[in-house]
Amino acid sequence: MNKPILIGMTALALVIGGCAKKTPPVETAPPAATATDTGTAANGDVDLVELPAMQADLVAKAGSDTVYFGTDEYQLDPASQATLAAQARWMLANAKVRASIEGHCDERGTREYNIALGERRANAARDYLIAQGVPAARLLVVSWGKERPAAVGSNETAWAQNRRVVTVVVR
């Protein structure tokens, strides 16, 4: 009495998982194709190379490579404007390098909104540098959102240090 049901069921059993490679069974090394996530040849653009000695010179001559912002804001205050004006003078004196203008946010914004906010901040700084005479072609913009905090705490002091734009000297 049970047997016919079982046999009938066997005949009706459905085939799933027919594509054997769909779900590799164990953890494996990342496939070779993903080794392109170094950011070079795959997409036809060249990775930016940081120049630590030049960066140190920018900090020494301009006073700082960083400007700071209020919560959810992207306006440059007078102190930030003075810092950027000094950075612009350094850029004009060092005509062979470019700068990656990098916007950052504190952790109290959602991930995608913070990418938009970081881009606003970076552009505010970029526009100021251009107004000071730095050629636009020498300035790149990137928003890190909340991906690269400078201070690791979850408090007002840390958040204030993380709402920033860093001018990164690159080749």
């Binding site: 459905l14 069974p25 795959a42 909104y113 890190w144 991906e147 690791v152």
Partner: protein, 441 residues
């Protein structure tokens, strides 16, 4: 080539009526009924036969364990067993000793068997019984390569869940997310993929470039995400099987917040230029983007309705982050949130009847849902930072990540759309930005 095989529902063994006990079902709307006690004993085999994944007797034990874990994860069941409940022999799979299971306190029983086939596959028979009424409710059989026995276990659990809850299946799914490790100011972030129960875990990127927000294509064969390759925030598309990835929009322009359209033909995303972020759509293979929003605000986190006709997104054009709905061509942009908080990262339910979002208020992020008109807002979680909702394909559960204050450690959670306690999805490292796959074929 992906082999898609439809699952045909077999006729129910008996009509679900005229029983003294009434139809056996679980209440998914919540909190009224206690979870159903369901016995999940080890599945016997007619004859132990070796397979590349262990012999069929061992597979019967492993499959029962996965079925029990899956059923427990729905929050609707308290599985009895497999360890500690009575074992039975092969013929009893279709004709259980109901009195024994009644005495054990079970309302329902999952029985079955594992049998080797000559072609190297195994057959997993899966039966659901109403123990109180003493009758079979449904049965289903699955043929899989022995090494993919977990797929058969998830399909069996889906059969049980679906029959007793009346909801669509969702357990035979995968999750893609961002695996995080290292200190907050130097965190390594890699895309990882796993079954929705955490098994078959592997990494899809090396971590050399920070990645965020991976999301499945509607067929689950591709991912779209943002990566910092080339020191730029840009959207990439990856083929899951090969790992090959491709930049969506060439050039040094900031692109982020990508999602596929429901038909998989298009990708909607944000592009930021000159301090202004708008929403664009482009073919999934690239091409010239078409602009859908043009306000000075930050318009981002777009998500299509399941019919592809509308898009929900967030914008701070009013001064704070709020949710808006527009037609797929960008027309009729209309704000839907007026709840006195900020709202972010909306995702349209696969059923179309709800939108999940991150609610920002009182210094915290919480996951909530509302109707597409903005009515009926409900908050589902309560912590410091819960962010990034993603729907199960049946629209009954939402996955998200919870970030710990201070350490910034992120953990994946899932919560029922009807409420209840969120449960952790264990991952080898920290986990953020989950995306739930469609149901696998």
């Amino acid at each position: 080539m992906k082999l898609i095989v439809a699952l045909f529902a077999l006729p129910l063994a008996a009509a679900a009526s005229a029983q003294d006990s009434g139809p056996l079902e679980v209440d998914v709307v919540g909190g009224i009924n206690a979870p159903m006690a369901i016995a999940v004993p080890f599945m016997p085999t007619p004859e132990p036969v070796p397979t590349p994944a262990g012999d069929t007797a061992q597979l019967g034990r492993s499959i029962a364990e996965v079925v029990a874990t899956d059923l427990r994860s729905t929050g609707l069941f308290t599985p009895l067993g497999p360890t500690g409940v009575r074992a039975y022999a092969f013929p009893e799979a279709a004709a259980p000793a109901y009195a024994e299971w009644r005495n054990a306190g079970a309302s329902a029983l999952v029985s079955g068997y594992v049998e080797a086939r000559p072609d190297g596959r195994i057959i997993v028979g899966c039966y659901l019984h109403d123990v109180t009424a003493g009758r079979e409710l449904t049965h289903q059989g699955f043929a899989v390569p022995a090494t993919e026995w977990r797929r058969a276990a998830h399909k069996c659990a889906d059969t049980i869940y679906s029959r007793l809850s009346g909801e669509q299946p969702f357990l035979d799914t995968r999750v893609v997310y961002v695996a995080e490790t290292g200190p907050k100011n130097n965190r390594l972030k890699r895309i990882a993929i796993m079954d929705s129960d955490g098994s078959n875990h592997r990494y899809l990127t090396t971590g050399k470039a920070t990645v965020v927000t991976p999301r499945f294509s509607p067929r689950g064969d591709k991912l779209v995400y943002m990566s910092y390759q080339g020191r730029m925030a840009r959207v990439y598309v990856m083929d899951v099987a090969s790992g090959a990835e491709r930049l969506l929009i060439p050039g040094r322009v900031t692109t982020f917040a990508p999602r596929f359209s429901p038909d998989g033909r298009d990708i909607i995303f944000s592009m930021a230029t000159g301090g202004n972020t708008d929403i664009y759509v482009v073919g999934a293979n690239g091409g010239t983007p078409r602009r859908l929003t043009a306000t000075p605000g930050a318009d981002t986190s777009p998500s299509y309705s399941p019919d592809g006709r509308q898009i929900v997104f967030e914008s701070d054009r009013s001064g704070t982050q709020q949710l808006y709905v527009m037609d797929a061509d960008g027309a009729n942009q209309k704000r839907i949130t007026f709840g006195g908080a900020r709202y972010a990262s909306p995702v349209w339910s696969p059923r179309g009847n709800m939108i999940a979002f991150t609610r920002i208020g009182g210094g915290a992020f919480r996951i909530g849902v509302m109707s597409p008109s903005g009515a009926g807002e409900r908050t589902l979680t309560d912590s410091w930072q819960d962010e990034g909702p993603s729907w199960a394909p049946n629209g009954q559960f939402i996955m998200f990540h919870r970030t710990a204050r201070g350490s910034g450690e992120a953990t994946l959670y899932a919560v029922s759309v009807n409420g209840g306690r969120p449960r952790i999805l264990p991952t080898p490292l920290g986990g953020s930005d989950p995306s739930w796959s469609p149901l696998q074929n």
